[in-house]
């Protein structure tokens, strides 16, 4: 099972981020528990901050204390635990609550920015009082806060506040940035790999075996792609050698075959010699088809080349009609389109010749083989032969496959060559039953206008 590199990276980053957060929490916790006095002061300080936030200019323009219900609730719910007092420079009290918690002298705070009275004993309890001189709305104020114990768990708020500042605010944006940068970087580096994969998918006998593009590949995968290129090159050479051999062998066989044919022609007609002539004709066809197959294998269609399909069909049907008539069959062309298709006229003509030869061989005498060119770029050959059983349809395009062992008229290569030519044009040879009996072979070429 393969997982995207981006997903893996993000999962690992999340894991590491989570661990770091945990470490951070443990660290913050340990730091505060080692300094309980500091933590308590932190609590008081935090509460003073909240009280200061509630100081706003009132309707008369003077500073007024306008606390939220939530802020006041702490004091109304726990009158024995929390108290505060806020006064301005003139000694005017802006707001206060539960001031009886500590003796009055404790509320008058000495000069200085912050002041502390730790462990003021009140009714056998230890109370912490803190005060701060601050400036709110441009006016100097003094805020004091006292706490006996911590029934409202204010400390917890402080704690979470600390966590929020140290973990979420500092780590999270960084982590998100990291993930985005990671994903983008990985995707960009892999884009060139996608091109290479595309090229590798296309590589094959029909498209030629070209080296995969290495431009822009990250060095980590460059070595792999270069090794693949070496392997592809060797494969290409082997394929080339094999094709060259088939082509040369077929070519070399032609001259001795021509000599043999000519020698046989000189001998008297009739009897066994006619059978030998038939055999030589079959051999000649086989050699020709072998050469064609080798040529079709190396066929690479230039997609910008155009081919006038009706004209090709006309010339092939025209050229093959005498043969059909000699064999007592008819040949007809129905062409209802003038569309050009993208393709190699020579190869398409060759495919059509093979299809017609095949159809003529399986047509009963007196029947007509029909070639049809229809929009947008369909070439179809229809016969009235026995048709092809469904289970044999995929087999007929295999090389050297024959309908029956006694069928020696064909080379078994014709339809394989047609299929190969269709493939080189990005099409396939479709084989169907013809309505009313017989078989129907068709290739849908790409109309030139779509290129």
């Amino acid at each position: 099972m393969s997982r995207s590199l981006v997903t893996t990276l993000i999962r690992r980053l999340l894991l590491v981020g989570g661990l770091l957060t945990l470490v951070n929490i443990v660290f913050v916790t340990a730091y505060y528990s080692s300094d309980p006095e500091g933590l308590r002061r932190e609590k008081v300080s935090h509460q003073i901050d909240r009280l200061a936030e509630a100081l706003k200019p009132g309707p008369d323009g003077r500073l007024a204390f306008m606390p939220s219900d939530r802020l006041l609730r702490t004091f109304t719910r726990y009158p024995d635990a929390y108290a505060f007092r806020i006064e301005d420079a003139t000694g005017r009290v802006l707001g206060e609550a539960n001031t009886a918690l500590v003796p009055a002298e404790r509320w008058s705070v000495p000069n200085g920015p912050d002041a502390w009275w730790s462990d003021v004993p009140v009714n056998g309890r230890s109370v912490l009082v803190g005060s701060r001189r601050a400036v709110a709305g441009g006016e100097p104020v003094r805020i004091a806060f006292a706490a006996a114990g911590d029934p409202s768990n204010l400390l917890l708020f402080v704690y979470f506040d600390e966590l929020f500042v140290h973990v979420i605010v500092s780590l999270l944006p960084f982590a998100i940035c990291l993930m985005i940068v990671n994903a983008v970087t990985v995707r960009q580096s892999l884009r060139s790999l996608v091109h290479a994969a595309e090229a590798a998918r296309k590589a094959g006998p029909s498209h030629g075996i070209a080296a995969l593009p290495t431009r822009g590949l990250p060095s980590e995968v460059l070595a792999l792609v270069e090794s693949i290129n070496v392997a592809l090159r060797r494969l290409g050479e082997a394929l080339e050698a094999e094709r060259a051999f088939t082509a040369e062998a077929a070519h070399a066989l032609r001259t001795p075959l021509a000599v043999l044919s000519a020698r046989i022609e000189k001998l008297p007609k009739g009897g066994e010699l006619d059978a030998v002539r038939t055999d030589i004709a079959a051999l000649r066809r086989l050699v020709n088809q072998l050469l064609s197959a080798a040529q079709a294998d190396t066929l690479v269609v230039d997609p910008t080349r155009q081919c006038d399909l009706p004209a090709v069909a006309e010339s092939v049907v025209s050229a093959m009609a005498p043969l059909a008539i000699r064999e007592g069959r008819g040949l007809a062309l129905e062409s209802d389109t003038t569309t050009s298709v993208s393709g190699d006229a020579d190869a398409i003509a060759h495919a059509l010749r093979n299809l017609i030869e095949n159809a003529l061989r399986f047509s009963p005498p007196g029947e007509e083989v029909l070639v049809r060119v229809s929009a947008p770029g369909q070439l179809t050959v229809l016969d009235r032969g026995p048709g092809i059983p469904d289970e044999q349809k995929p087999l007929v395009i295999k090389r050297f496959w024959r309908a029956s062992a006694s069928d020696l008229g064909g080379t078994g290569l014709g339809l394989a060559i047609v299929q190969r030519i269709a493939e080189a044009h990005g099409a396939t040879l479709a084989i169907r039953d013809r309505a009313g009996g017989g078989a129907e072979f068709s290739i849908a070429f790409t109309p030139a206008s779509l290129q």
Binding site: R254, A258, K266, Q295, V317, P322, G328, E334, E368
Partner: protein
Amino acid sequence: MKLLLIEDVPPLAQLTREALETEGFTVDHAESLEAARAILAVAPPDVIVLDLGLPDGDGLDLLHGLRNESNAIPVLVVTARAGLNDRIDGLDRGADDYIVKPAAPAEIAARCRALLRRPGGLLGRRLQLGNLVFDTASRSVTANGRPVNLARREIDVLEVLLRKLGQSVPRRVIEDAIYTLDEAPGPNALEASVSRLRRQLAEAGANVEIHTIRGIGYLISEAGET
């Protein structure tokens, strides 16, 4: 009928030559371009059968040279090069027909005769098929030695078909040959002419058959040849 065979493979040349002689041709043989040029200079043939790959050069060069000298002698190219591009190249350079190796000598002979049946060709004056004879000079047709009375249009159709014996003749080639530019034949005019021609030939006892190749045109052959 004098034929110049230019072929460099000795056994093939020898056997093709004998076969063509059996078919009624007088054959001169050249195994190189140089020898061919020498023969052309002293004894011009009626038709040339030209192999392309020769020891001292490409047969197409010889062909090109002939056409540059405005020599219109019919040339049948025989070659192992099977691609369409080679064929177009050959025809562009002035070949009259093209046949791919290995070709049976009978086929070579048939193609040569077809070339010679062209107007002005050696066999172009008296066209014959089966018991049918067409004299292009007097424009008279006989079947089994008896004259066949045909209208001018039918005679024209028959001439085109006979000159292209053994080949499909596209409708428009026939129409171009039998109608003047001013005439505007109806869509079925040609069919009507051909069916009249068929009937008259059958009535006269001519053993020829005119086949319809639907979507293309017509083809004439000897009856019973199929």
